[in-house]
C-alpha cells in the first residue's frame, strides 16, 4: 500500500478523532503537507486529562503495541519520520509500558531506518509532560514539546503545513491511532461494519464512572446506546438510587437527562440532542447529587487549568464559578441567573481555543435542563440537597 492508499482506506473507514472533537482522521491526514521536503512529524496526544476519562490509560498500560503499530502506520501515511507520544507525567506505568514496547519493536526491526526494507524510516519517542490540561490542545501540545509554555497558537498557519518546529505535523489521540492497524488489517468496510448501526464506524472505548455499580471501561460497537452502556456494562445505578443526569464524554460535554438515555453514543447523534460524545467516558450522577454543586466542581477544574492566554477564559471562568458558588451558598439573587447566562454566552464565542467553550457548555446545559433546581437554591436561600458547607476554592494550590 502506498501512503495514499492508507489515507484512502482510513477515509473510507469513517474513523473520527477519539480525543473528543470527532474530526475525520483520514481527512486530517490528507491535509498534511507531504510536498514540502521533510522533516515531518506525527504526534500522539496521550495527555489524557479530561475529567472522567480513563480510556487511553487502559489502552497504553495494557496494549502499548497497538498504539506503537498505529503510530508507525500513521507516520507512513503522512510520511513523517519522527513520532512523539506526548503523555502526562501521572501515567508513569503507561509511559514505561510504551518505552518497553518501543524497545521491543526496535529490536524486531519495526522502528528505525528502512523498516522491513520498505524505504520508510521512523523514530519514536515518549515525552513525559508535567501536568496541564491545555497541553491536550494540539497547538499548545506543540509548544509544550518545544519547551515553551503550553499556550495555544493562532491558526493559520495550520499544523498540517506549519506545526511542530514549523514543520508539517499531524496530531491524533492515542485511541484514534490504536484503531489504525485494525482498519488496515480488516479493510475499511469490514472495520466500519463493527459499529452498532448502519453508517457508524468501528468500535469505541466507552467508560462509565460515578454513581454506578460497576464502573469500568468497555470496548463496544460505536453507537451503543447510552442506557446500555450505563445499565448493562456499568451495572446500573447503586441500589436504592435513580439516574439523575450524566456527562456523556468528560467535563466539557453538556449534561444528558433521563429523557435522552436511549441516545446512540456516536458523535452525530449525541450532537443532535444538544450534547457531545466527547471522549465517550460517561460520568453518572444520581438523586444524591446537587447539580449546582456538580457544576461548581466541574468549573473549578477549568478555572484552575485555564492556561491564562486569553481574557474570556482566564478572567471569565472565575466569574461563572463565583456566581455558582453564591447560588449554592444561598446568597444569590434571582437576577444573577441572567448575569450567569450572559457570562457563559460571552465567554463561549470569544475565547482563543476550544477550552473555554468546553468549560461553560455544561453550565449552559444546566441552565437549560435544571433551571428549576437552580432557582430552588435561590428561593430557599440554601442548597435543597446538600447541607455541607462549601469547601471548594479556585485558588491554585501549587508552588
Amino acid at each position: 500500500m502506498t501512503p495514499d492508499d492508507v489515507i484512502k482506506t482510513v477515509i473510507d473507514s469513517g474513523l473520527r478523532g477519539r480525543g473528543g472533537a470527532g474530526f475525520p482522521t483520514g481527512k486530517k491526514w490528507s491535509l498534511t503537507d507531504r510536498k514540502t521536503p521533510g522533516p515531518r512529524y506525527f504526534l500522539v496526544n496521550a495527555d489524557e486529562m479530561e475529567p472522567g476519562t480513563f480510556k487511553d490509560r487502559f489502552l497504553m498500560e495494557r496494549d502499548p503495541h497497538q498504539v506503537i503499530e498505529g503510530l508507525l502506520i500513521s507516520g507512513y501515511a503522512t510520511e513523517a519520520g519522527k513520532g512523539y507520544i506526548f503523555i502526562r507525567y501521572e501515567y508513569s506505568e503507561a509511559a514505561q509500558a510504551l518505552e518497553r514496547a518501543i524497545g521491543e519493536a526496535k529490536s524486531a526491526g519495526f522502528i528505525g531506518k528502512d523498516i522491513l526494507g520498505s524505504g520508510f524510516s521512523m523514530e519514536i519517542s515518549v515525552h513525559r509532560s508535567a501536568g496541564r490540561y491545555e497541553c491536550g490542545e494540539e497547538t499548545a501540545l506543540m509548544n509544550a514539546l518545544e519547551g515553551r509554555r503550553a499556550n495555544p497558537r493562532s491558526k493559520p498557519p495550520y499544523p498540517a503545513s506549519k506545526g511542530f518546529w514549523m514543520r508539517p505535523t499531524t496530531v491524533n489521540n492515542a485511541e484514534t491511532v490504536a484503531n489504525i492497524p485494525h482498519i488496515i488489517k480488516m479493510g475499511a468496510s469490514q472495520w466500519k461494519s463493527l459499529a452498532a448501526y448502519e453508517g457508524g464506524a468501528g468500535t469505541k472505548l466507552y467508560g462509565v464512572s460515578g454513581r454506578v455499580k460497576n464502573p469500568g471501561l468497555f470496548e463496544l460497537p460505536t453507537g451503543t446506546p447510552l442506557n446500555e452502556i450505563i445499565e448493562t456494562h456499568g451495572g446500573g445505578m447503586r441500589d436504592g438510587h435513580s439516574f439523575k443526569a450524566c456527562l456523556p464524554g468528560g467535563a466539557s460535554t453538556p449534561i444528558i437527562t433521563p429523557d435522552n438515555m436511549d441516545v446512540r453514543m456516536d458523535f452525530d447523534t449525541v450532537s443532535k440532542i444538544g450534547s457531545r460524545m466527547g471522549t465517550g467516558c460517561v460520568t453518572v450522577f444520581d438523586d444524591t447529587c446537587c447539580i449546582v454543586r456538580a457544576m461548581i466542581n466541574n468549573i473549578m477544574f477549568f478555572v484552575r487549568e485555564s492556561c491564562g492566554w486569553c481574557t474570556p477564559c482566564r478572567d471569565g471562568l472565575p466569574f461563572v464559578y463565583n456566581i455558582l458558588q453564591r447560588i449554592e451558598a444561598g446568597v444569590a439573587e434571582m437576577d444573577e441567573l441572567a448575569v450567569l447566562e450572559e457570562n457563559c454566552e460571552t465567554i463561549y464565542p470569544n475565547s482563543f481555543c476550544a477550552f473555554a467553550p468546553g468549560a461553560v457548555d455544561p453550565v449552559r446545559s444546566m441552565m437549560r435542563l435544571f433551571r428549576e433546581e437552580v432557582e430552588e437554591h435561590i428561593r430557599l436561600r440554601k442548597c435543597p440537597m446538600n447541607p455541607r458547607p462549601l469547601p471548594l476554592s479556585h485558588e491554585r494550590a501549587r508552588g
Binding site: 508535567a130 515553551r148 464502573p215 447529587c289 466542581n297
Partner: protein
Amino acid sequence: MLSDGRIKELREYVASLEHPEEALVDLMHEAQEAYGYLSDEAAEKVAEIADVPVIKVDELATFYNLIFRRPVGRKVIFVCDSISCWVVGMENIFDYLKKRLGIDIGGTTPDGAFTLLPICCIGACHVAPAMMVGDKLYGNLTPESIDEILEKERN
C-alpha cells in the same frame, strides 16, 4: 543534588539534540527529583545544562502543576478532585487526610513526610475516589485504606 558527572552526561545529551529546548521538561523533572523541588539552585542548573536563560526555566516551571518551585514533603499526596471522584465522596477523602495528617491542602507534615495537594482527574475514575502518593496510584479509597497507605508510604 545533581552530581558533576550527571551534569556532564546531561550536557552531552542536550548538545546532541537538534532542538535542545525539547529536553527542558525532562531536565526539570530530573532536577526536581535530585533537589526535592525545583529550587533556585536547581532551576539555575537546568538553565545551565540546556544553555537557556534561567527566566525561561522559571517561566516553564511555573506553568506546570507538577513542578514545584517551593519545598514539598518527601512524597506528595495528590488527591483527585475532579468530577468522577467528587461524585463518590472526594470531599470526605480530603477531610479525612487533612485530619489524619494535621495539615490543610497545600501543607506539609512537620516531619517532612507528606505534602497534600489536589490534582485534576488522574484517569482512575473506575476506582474512584483515587489519589496518588508520589507516582503510585491508589483507588477505591476508604478511611481504613488511607490509614494503611499512609503507614506504608511514610517509610
